[in-house]
Amino acid sequence: MTRLFVNGMASISPQPENIFNTGLPETFNENILPALDQDYKSIIKPMTLRRMSQGVKMALFCSKRALLEAESDKPDAILVGTGQGCMQDTEKFMENMLVSEEGLLSPTSFIQSTHNTVAGQIALDLNCNGPNMTFTQNSVSFESALLDAMLQITDEDFNNILVGGVDETSKEITGFQKLDGQIKEEKINNLHLFRSKTTGTIISEAAAFFILGKHKTPKSYAEMLDVEIFNAIDISDLNSSVLSFLNRNGLTVSEIDAVILGKNGDLRFDLYYDKIQKGLFSDICQIGFKHLVGENNAVSSYAFWLASKILKEQTVPEIFKLNTINCTKPGFILIYNQYLGRNHGLTLLRSI
């Protein structure tokens, strides 16, 4: 079987990347969290940058930094997971339609409103003619891209694949998620998210991109072993599904050193996480991240970034911990994420 190593990575989120070392989080008292601004002009040409929405900017910036770290000029394939795509441009052209009474519309925002704009813009910038795929599968969009990476890397001509997850917020459309209770009614301090006893969560924008290569390098962070997606799963079947996933990788629960959970403070759906926190993984180091970076359809890519970082640095920062169990020498990390009780993803990584 072809192996997959994380050879370069970068993330943008509501938290700085160095939170891993400083443990000092940004705090927010609102329920829609913006990503921290970056010096985009430092690596993206201003004439290219001017038309980019937040999602495209974040994705391209992370892609270029990940490539730089992996010392690669161009990937053999580009695989992007995005649940909601380029919402800012969608919103812009829909507003234009209203204002112009369906008259003359500016073409740029329409052209750039599709989900695959992100992967397309990355390819244009990198001059990459390899496979270019966009996966839009709600909260398993990034996991779907990972699955494809496992398939693509079996091509004997491929060595490095760029895989990432990105979702942006937009002024009006993100606000719609309040209407069906996806966003909490009351304003909440993000650091208190897991104490919340109400429905909904905090929504954010974020991106994390990775160079997955078939060869280990001195800079490699971790090895990705496996990924599985369940579009629907009954809570009573969760344990057996996790066990069977571990089993097919030759592992038992006791061999997992830490589990990263997509717990998001939504009273209705954190039950899934509660079940394995109190059951299967009660004696294992439990890690959360959505109290820091919020929720979005591609935020499991941040969990993948976090797992890779933990496995390389061999430490779990306190700010991410959900329990007091120590993890002194992380070897295997399991990521479990779902959203609204649907689209569950399991991802397994190990140290190298």
Binding site: M47, R50, R51, L104, S106, P107, T108
Partner: protein, 85 residues
């Protein structure tokens, strides 16, 4: 510089998101595409929409575009002669 030249430069900066650019940084005879300002084909579409929306000019022959959108001067000349609003 006529009001139309200045107005055109302002519209172009705004419509094409040339955020870091000021009106006085665009020369009247500077090429808008290629080696000059460096605009591209998506910008050309935006300029076609701008002509129709702001000046009521509908370009029927795409080949005209190359000449009309050569510079601010050529755009202003064409607008003066053909505007309906």
């Amino acid at each position: 510089m006529s009001d139309l030249h200045t107005e055109l430069k302002r519209s172009i900066i705004e419509q094409l998101n040339l955020e870091d650019m000021e009106v006085n940084e665009i020369e009247n005879d500077e090429q808008l595409f290629g080696d000059g300002l460096g605009l591209d084909s998506i910008d050309a579409l935006e300029l076609i929409v701008l002509l129709e929306k702001d000046y009521g000019i509908k370009l029927t022959d795409p080949n005209q575009g190359k000449q009309i959108f050569n510079s601010i001067n050529t755009m202003a000349d064409y607008i003066e002669k053909n505007r309906t609003r």
